[in-house]
């Protein structure tokens, strides 16, 4: 597993050009995540219209893995129903599970790539200490969703 497979183009692109980084004017849910050991931070804001994510922001600072994961996440969830987003969180966490044996393929551009760009993060699985970086935005997203259901 070479470093090039960890730091794929698409990851560095999302790291340097994060999508949806602007705070929302009106957020229906808001959650802050921090990884105390490395200091990485991600804030997730969601707007929901008719049961779908109508707007999203992920604002944070940290390593390329946590920040690109956040950016790709915003792309991936926009327009999806809350149900679909919960499903996506499951899939992402499953992909990140080191014990997960199935080879999900490494090429986000191949036909049928379930998670799209996000599959580029599969390389992280080989660096167990960095998995928590990739997961941080998703854990924070889950907290934001919990807020939605609570209110």
């Amino acid at each position: 597993m070479s470093l090039e497979e960890l730091y794929r183009e698409v990851i560095l692109d999302h790291y340097r050009n994060p999508r949806h980084r602007k705070p929302l004017d009106r957020a229906d849910a808001h959650a802050e995540g921090v990884n105390p050991l490395c200091g990485d931070e991600v804030t997730v804001e969601l707007a929901v219209t008719d049961g779908r994510i109508s707007d999203v922001a992920a604002i944070g600072q940290g390593c390329s893995i946590s920040q690109s994961s956040a950016s790709m996440m915003t792309d991936a969830i926009l327009g999806k129903t809350v149900e679909e987003v919960r499903d996506l969180i499951q899939r992402f966490k499953a992909m990140m599970d080191i014990d997960h044996e199935a080879d999900l393929g490494l090429d986000p551009d191949r036909p049928g790539a379930v998670l799209g760009d996000l599959e580029a993060l599969q390389g992280v699985r080989r660096y167990p200490v960095r998995i928590k970086c990739a997961n941080l935005p998703w854990t924070t997203l889950a907290q934001a969703l919990d807020q939605l259901s609570a209110s």
Partner: protein
């Protein structure tokens, strides 16, 4: 070259290969590796003469007690303390600083008193004072850094007034490498009658330290950063200050008498060592300072300086690398914090690790300093006796890989 290359063979970990690459261990500021002599001293001790100390009249216990107290004397002589009773063993520098903050500060600080720290303190010399300030009504104040990452001594002198009860300063910054002039600070503190606490966690492993000329009232350090085991550190104090300090932990071994409702304390330093102490660790600590003294602390410092100068020079040539710390090797030790362009330090650390180069990335337990430097984190390479220029070359080469992967420069 400083001629210590042969020492590397004494360190078993460094003989390892990880992922087919030799170990370029550049994280000694977090914790050092241990030479065989230290490991054998502890292992032999457990195998030949282990028993609890200060507790038995039987042969093993007598032997164990002698080894433990001999270790105290040995550590005391390493810093040239005039008497072993000036040294108490603690779990580490952090524990020792908590003892001082709570045991001395908790007793003597009054509302309105100030504790003057610096912007570059490790959390270990900051958080305990925050806790004690909250309890006593004392306030914390901070000496800023100059633009070249030194302690601003003029600001220090301005802030020093009669309300300052304690000055707490690191002997060497674990982020910047900065070595502030302790004797000068001691003189300034003395003029206002403030107590001087020196966090020697980085200083004592890397520079010759003589408490009889240092001017401090308290000095703390950890064995694990100076070739010794985990689980032990030392607190040195002037006898009159130790006498003023209340014990922080109660229990066995630290008492003179115990009644149901009240107790009296044993003499210093035992009153600060409640319970079964880190006995084998003390034996290992003594073996570690034996090793360092055999190398010679002047040699250790010169070796650090050589590698630091070499590394600073090579790093300066790499585009987009920023180093945080004094440029002058006389004002600093072998701890080099840096960043590279927009590559996050954790990414740097991962890439370097794949090249066999171990550096630390993060806030280095100095979050206020990170804010002052306006960075969320830095990467940090730090040196010790077993490092060589080859390690520095490997670092530089690995940074090349990182800049290629991230398309920097």
């Amino acid at each position: 070259m400083s001629g210590l290359e042969h020492l590397r063979a004494d360190f078993p970990v460094l003989q390892r290969e990880i992922g087919g690459k030799p170990v370029h261990f550049l994280d000694s500021a977090a914790s050092s590796q241990k030479p065989t002599s230290v490991l054998e001293a502890m292992d032999d001790f457990y195998r030949c003469c282990y028993a609890n100390v200060h507790r038995g009249a039987y042969a093993l216990s007598v032997e164990s007690t002698e080894r433990y107290e001999a270790a105290r004397s040995r550590v005391a002589s390493f810093i040239n303390a005039s008497d072993p009773t000036q040294v108490a063993f603690a779990r580490g520098a952090t524990s020792a600083l908590n003892l001082i903050a709570h045991g001395w500060g908790g007793e003597h600080l009054r509302p309105g008193d100030r504790v003057l720290l610096t912007e570059m303190e490790h959390h270990a010399n900051l958080v305990p004072w925050q806790m004690v300030a909250a309890r006593t009504g004392a306030r914390l104040d901070f000496v800023p850094l100059t633009d070249d990452y030194r302690l601003d001594l003029e600001a220090l002198e301005q802030k020093l007034d009669d309300d300052v009860a304690v000055v707490g300063v690191t002997g060497m910054s674990n982020v910047l490498g900065t070595i502030p002039p302790i004797p000068r600070i001691a003189e300034a503190a003395r003029t206002v009658g403030a107590l001087l606490v020196v966090d020697g966690a980085q200083l004592v492993p890397h520079q010759p330290v003589d408490v009889q000329t240092l001017g401090a009232d308290f000095l703390v350090f950890s064995a694990h950063k100076m070739l010794g085991p985990t689980g032990i550190g030392a607190l040195w104090g002037r006898p009159e200050r130790l006498e003023e300090m209340e014990p922080y932990e109660g229990g066995g071994e630290m008492i003179a008498d115990v009644q149901l409702h009240t107790s009296t304390w044993a003499a210093i330093p035992h009153r600060f060592e409640a319970g079964t102490p880190p006995i084998a660790e003390a034996v290992g600590f003594a073996a570690a300072v034996d090793y360092l003294d055999k190398v010679g602390m002047d040699q250790v410092a010169a070796h650090d300086a050589d590698l630091t100068a070499y590394a600073l020079q090579l790093l300066a040539e790499i585009p987009h690398v920023t180093v945080y710390g004094p440029a002058d090797v006389d004002a600093r030790g072998g701890v080099i914090s840096f960043t590279m362009a927009d590559v996050h330090p954790h990414d740097l650390a991962t890439i370097l690790d794949q090249q066999g180069v171990s550096v630390r990335a993060g806030h280095h337990c100095a979050k206020p300093l990170m804010r002052r430097l306006c960075v969320p984190a830095t990467a940090r390479a730090s040196f010790y006796v077993y490092n060589t220029r080859t390690d520095v070359d490997a670092l530089v080469e690995a940074l090349g890989v990182a800049s290629r992967i991230f398309g920097v420069g």
